[in-house]
Structures are given as structure tokens and as C-alpha cells.
Symmetry: C2
Subunit: 333 residues, 2 copies
Amino acid sequence: MNIREVAKKAGVSTATVSRVVNGTVPVSALVERQVRSAIKSLGYYPNTHARTLGSGRSHMYGLIISDIANPFFPDIVKFFERIAVEHGQEVLIANTDYQPQRMQVCVRRMLERRVDGVAIMTSEMDPKLVQLLNKRGIPIVFLDTGHVGPNISNVLIDYVSGIEQAIEHLISFGHQRIAFVSGPPTLASARTRSNAFALSIKRKGLNFRADYMQIGNHRIDGGQSAMAKLLRLRQPPTAVMASNDLTAIGMMREIRAAGLQVPGDISVLGFDDIEISNFLQPPLTTIRVPRAEIGVSAFNALYAANRRRGNAGTEHRISTELVIRESTGLVKS
Amino acid sequence: MNIREVAKKAGVSTATVSRVVNGTVPVSALVERQVRSAIKSLGYYPNTHARTLGSGRSHMYGLIISDIANPFFPDIVKFFERIAVEHGQEVLIANTDYQPQRMQVCVRRMLERRVDGVAIMTSEMDPKLVQLLNKRGIPIVFLDTGHVGPNISNVLIDYVSGIEQAIEHLISFGHQRIAFVSGPPTLASARTRSNAFALSIKRKGLNFRADYMQIGNHRIDGGQSAMAKLLRLRQPPTAVMASNDLTAIGMMREIRAAGLQVPGDISVLGFDDIEISNFLQPPLTTIRVPRAEIGVSAFNALYAANRRRGNAGTEHRISTELVIRESTGLVKS
DNA sequence: ATGAAAGCGCTAACAC
DNA sequence: GTGTTAGCGCTTTCAT
């Protein structure tokens, strides 16, 4: 079942069938009807591989993430895929499992499948591999990493807006001693969050204290041990913000283990707003990073890059916002 | 950059390059070295679309799920993809968003990309669409749905084993009055779970009571209202099993809202063991459905179907097991 | 508006 | 063990 059989049945050339299928060039109404009916009665589905070979466009976009089981990613994948399909494009998903060497395999897969663009939503990325894609003129979009350049776009997350809302929220509850538990310093986005916090504290006129800046690892255990340190301070904070929600979960566990209450004794804020945050006890106040929007923006950047003259990259800014639940409350007086 | 340039540079024919790349036929060591070096120096990556066209095999497998944001699916996707990549195969993921009409689009995508097999991990599936794939001889694997047939395999989940473990566990804590909150009766897997529960109750010599069988919807709100009904019974159960973890979350909320304790007053069990279950307060005792194994088995079934003579489908049985945490305890005396 | 025909890059059958 | 070459199914000039 191929285009030739359809052409024969419709009594036209294969070129005409192709025109009808792709709507590239106007075709007379009569011919179009004949072709469509032939397609239907034969149950014809175009072979996209042949199409790719002929046209040079695969209509596939790569999406490289760290780990689909990390609750941060499913929404990104979901909306990236949804909008891709709406535009008649296909998606190739690749997990690196946080292992840089697997990134090489991912890039190879993208290259072999001749994708029309790659969204790289991990933070660890070897410039050599980027070069491999870029040399071939494949549009790339990063998440909050690297800089815009030829065929390179960036989806930028504005952490500051959400963090400032959070600090204002805490101040309104009377908090003055606010601590922060960061992610691994090796992670660019973690550093960005940490810096944005330090900046906002000063802007809001609060006292910035180095001993209120603890290092976590974006996992539960890191949140626990960081919180343990904060609790041992002579003057512990009355509120603590985490660099991600898992860290906040760890913090809450540690607080409870110390016989204290959230938010009665200490207020806790997370970051990301992953699904489980709403199911915690108490439900976690957190800064939402709109992941659906990230997925959509990433796709749009790539798709646009293929329909634009020139190769200028674009930058897309995404803002964050505070989601108030029950892990924050009035400062203990 | 194509196979011809590599051939020229290595001073061999394109066929030989193909042989080296695919390792199909032995090639002299010298020639192999030359070819590999040419490939490397030219930065050659085979074009899989051309390969597909030439060979008739796309080396791509479709994976159709309901919703990647549903915590049941990420692990399946992750392990399906992992093992596929290990075998040099690609994965095409499609979400139906629980909408049967989107299934049509999914199947069309699979057909157009000429996948070598499709794993259908949703329960709603129009037989007409199955036929569309099956007519073309594309191997299909279902999750716990439909029956094995020509080119149709099935990954079967043995719910009974886990449920029996759970009931034994409850009995050992002294429970005799055990209720069940099911999923939507329209969902085949929900009915299967419900039936398995009823069967096990009788097998274990407990009293089966129709008023202990409540209907939920696999969401939190359904768990809440079902639990509310159970609490209003003259003789409420001392333990309740849910058809999935979200339902159990709803049940716990309702129990707490009624001023009762879990597991102090009522023991609660979930089903699935999604990630958040371990973070609940108290951590949820639940029946684990091994999703990694499902993903792996589904892929293996498809992959094997392509390397086997004949088109006989296979059946793969996967067992479930009880994960004991803190939402179950001694019956209140 | 439509058709003829030359690729696109690879595989596989065949010949040697 | 290696080369030659005819497809695979489509798109896209180039004519008409």
C-alpha cells in the first residue's frame, strides 16, 4: 500500500497524490475528491520515512530529559508531546538517567533519526555534543542553561518573581529569620535559585546570614541533614525555603523528628510544586514552576526555528508564582 | 554526509560500509578498520529513515499510554525506553489523555511511522483500531486486556497474589471486617481487582459482605465519598483496601475528617505503590504493581515477536506483592 | 493544474 | 569477502 497504488486507483500521478496529501499546491476539486476517496478505500497511510528521505524534514523533535520518573518531567513531556502532535510533529524522548555518558547516546539517536530540533531539558551538557548538533544546523533549545546563539534558544525561568512573592508572604506572617536549603552546587539551576534567594532577601531589607544558607542535594535526605544543621544553630530560623519540593519534604521530616511542628514552630516552603506536594501533611506551600508552559515554549522555540529565515535563537521567559498551602503560618511569638 | 562519501573515503563500496555498520556479514579486518576510521573522521551517522525504507524495519516501537502525568506510567515508559535503547530500538510515545478518539490519532501515528510493534497500555481500545494494526502484521502487546492471538500478546498482572498477601497481613493483625473500594466499574482492570478481592476474601474464610464493596473512581474524591459511606454503616469495617493509591489517599482524608486515626481506628491499604505513597502521613501500606517489569515485559514481547518465525502471541504473567508501611495496624479491640 | 522522472540514503539480492 | 545495482516510497524540480 503506497502512493503509487493510490495514484493508479485515482487515475492520477503520484505527484498529485502527494500534493493532495500535503496540501502543498492547489489541486482541482474533482481530482482531490478522487484521490481522497482512493486513499480512504485503500486505507493508505503515507510512509513518513520515505517522506523524510525525499524532503529532508523528519517532522520529529527530540526531547532529552534526565529521568521521566522524576516528577518534574512528566508534565513537560506531556505538553511538549501534545503541542507537537497538534502541529503534526513526532517526539523522540530520551532519558539520560543523570549520567553524562548516556547523553552521548541520546545525541546519537537524535542525529540518526534526523530530528528537526532538540530540546535539552537536563542541565549537564557537554559542549562537544552541543556542537555535534549545532554543526548540522539542528535547532536546540535549552532549559535555563547556556546562551542564545545561532540555532540555539533558551527557555528562561524567572525564579526571582516567585521567590519575592514567597518572602513577602513570610514577612506578612511576621517572619524575619528566613533560611534557605539549596540544591547541589554543581547544578546550575540550583545555583540560580540560591542566588535569587540571597538577592531577594537583601532587596526586601532582611538580614542576610550566611549560616542560614545550607547546602542540600535536591533529595529528601539532603533536606533532612540540612535542616538538622539549621535546628542546631543558636538562633534557628523561623521559616525555611527549599530549592525543591523533595528537599522540603526532608526538612519537614527532620522538624517533626525534632518534636517540632510545621508550621506551628517553623514554616516550610518548597520549590517546583510537584504533584505530591499537595498531598503532604501539611500540604506544602511552594513556588510553582509552570512545567506545562516550559514544554510548550520549548517546542514552540524549535518549531519556529524551522519556519523562520535565518538562524537567530530566541529567548522565552517563564515566571514562577507562589502557591500558598498550609506549611507556612504566623511566626511563633 | 552519507554512506557513499564514507565508501569513497574508505575506498570500498557502500555495501561494505553497510556491512560494517550493521555487522550483518563478516568483513576483513583491514577493510573494517578503514571503514571505521572513515566513519569517525567524517562524523558519519547513518540515516535511519533511509535504512527503514531499504530494509522495511523501522526499529521503532510505539508505546501508547493514557497520560504520562498519571504516576502509574512514568516507570513503565522509563523501563520500556531503557530496554528498547539497549536493543538499538527507538520509542514513540503517545498519550491518549483518556480520550478514546485520541486513540485514533495515536494509531495513525504508529502506522505512518511504520513501527515494528505497539504496546497498548491503556484499557480503552476500539477493536477496529486494533484491527488496523493487526491487518498489517504489526505485533501488539496489551496490558491485562484482550486475549492472546496472532501477533497479539498480553502482559497479565496477577492481582490475586498481592491481594491474598494483604488479606493475610490484615488477618494477622486481627482484622475480620475488611472492606474494598473499587475503581470505576467501566474500567476492566478495576473490575479485575475488585473480583480478585471478593474471591480472596472467601478463600481466606472471611465473611463476604456486599455492603463492604464500595464503588470509587480511582481518584481522591471517589475514595472520600466511598469511605464516608463505609463509616456510616452500623458496623463499619476495621480495614479498607482501595483499588488504587489515590483512592486510599481519599479514604485517609475522610477518616481523619471524621476524627478517626489511621491505623489506630481503621487500617488502610492502597494499590499500585505510586511514589507518593511512601510520603504520605502515615506512609501507605499498599500492593505494589511492578511497573518497571511491565515496561520491560511489554517491550520484550514485541521485540521477540519480530525475531520469531510465525506470529503466535505470548502471555507474560507479572505478580504483585504487599508492601507493608504504617497505614495498617492491629485491629482496635 | 498535472505528469514524468530524478533523486533522497540505505539495504539486500546477486554476481564474482 | 566485496562490488554492483535495483529497489524502498516519497518529494520536488521541470515540463507541459
